[in-house]
Amino acid sequence: MKAAIVQFPGSNRDRDMFAALETISGQPAHKVWHTDTELPNCDLIILPGGFSHGDYLRSGAIAARAPVMRAVATAAAQGVRVLGVCNGFQILTEAGLLPGSLMRNAGLTFVCREVMLEVANPQNPFTCGYTQGEIIRCPVAHHDGNYFAAPKTLAKIESNNQVAFRYANGTNPNGSVNDIAGVFNKQGNVLGMMPHPENLIEAAHGGTDGRRLFEAALDMLESTAA
């Protein structure tokens, strides 16, 4: 499977993501610049972490209106897998490809620490490497990760099983509603999450819990549900 990483000015975990994909799949990902209007032929599009356009105005707001995002929206509508991590998640919500918004952390400060995540829905191409209710480790590093959705939207997200991950064991670092750490779109081919699985994929990182997410998204698991 071929992956593409979209780079915006101010993206800064694009290099982490690139290295992680290469380590896991042995293949370099395509790099796509924010002004590109077409995407390379690929099965997985990744919007990496960082501070696109400085996160000025609202995190992800300016990037969400970049030319490349039209192509991303089109691909998403066609069923191509799209993963947004951290700033990528913020961009996806700003672009309307995912429900909800990411507000300032409840503690108001940037938070970088390891949290625990409960896998809320493993029936999905991104999460099928985990089991229902499994608790995994994952680092977070963000200032605006406080997931919020209006009650009606929230009810829908919950009833459609669109929550991918929840902060577990009292480790919610930012005040997110219902401990939501990651959500799918309704079709299940777009995932946004605040934690950084790309920073926990090899022994040097002190753990490999993030690895299965990429292995699943790249169809590299032994028994991937189609």
Partner: protein, 85 residues
């Protein structure tokens, strides 16, 4: 066409019911600084935009369009546009 200069003030505020962590933190901080009687605080943004437009109405329209397209996230925010000559 000879455009005129306009100074436009845009105010963007969170919709009712939308979580405002900053406002809430400020309430708390004001309390601990000894300010009593504070009911609620909500934080928003203002933008001072200088632009050229054919008329006041045109300025109003173009800035509203800017709000829809960028300055406000209309899912969670309201905006108000005020044009000064």
């Amino acid at each position: 066409m000879a455009d005129k200069k306009f100074h436009v003030k845009v105010t963007v505020t969170l919709k009712n019911g939308v979580l405002d962590p900053q406002g809430k933190a400020i309430e708390g901080a004001l309390g601990s600084l000894g300010f009593d009687g504070v009911g609620s605080v909500r934080q928003g943004k203002v933008f001072d935009v200088n632009l050229n437009a054919a008329s006041k109405k045109a300025a109003q329209e173009v800035v509203s369009d800017m709000c829809e397209k960028l300055l406000a996230n209309t899912v969670i925010e309201n905006y108000a546009v005020e044009v000064n000559g």
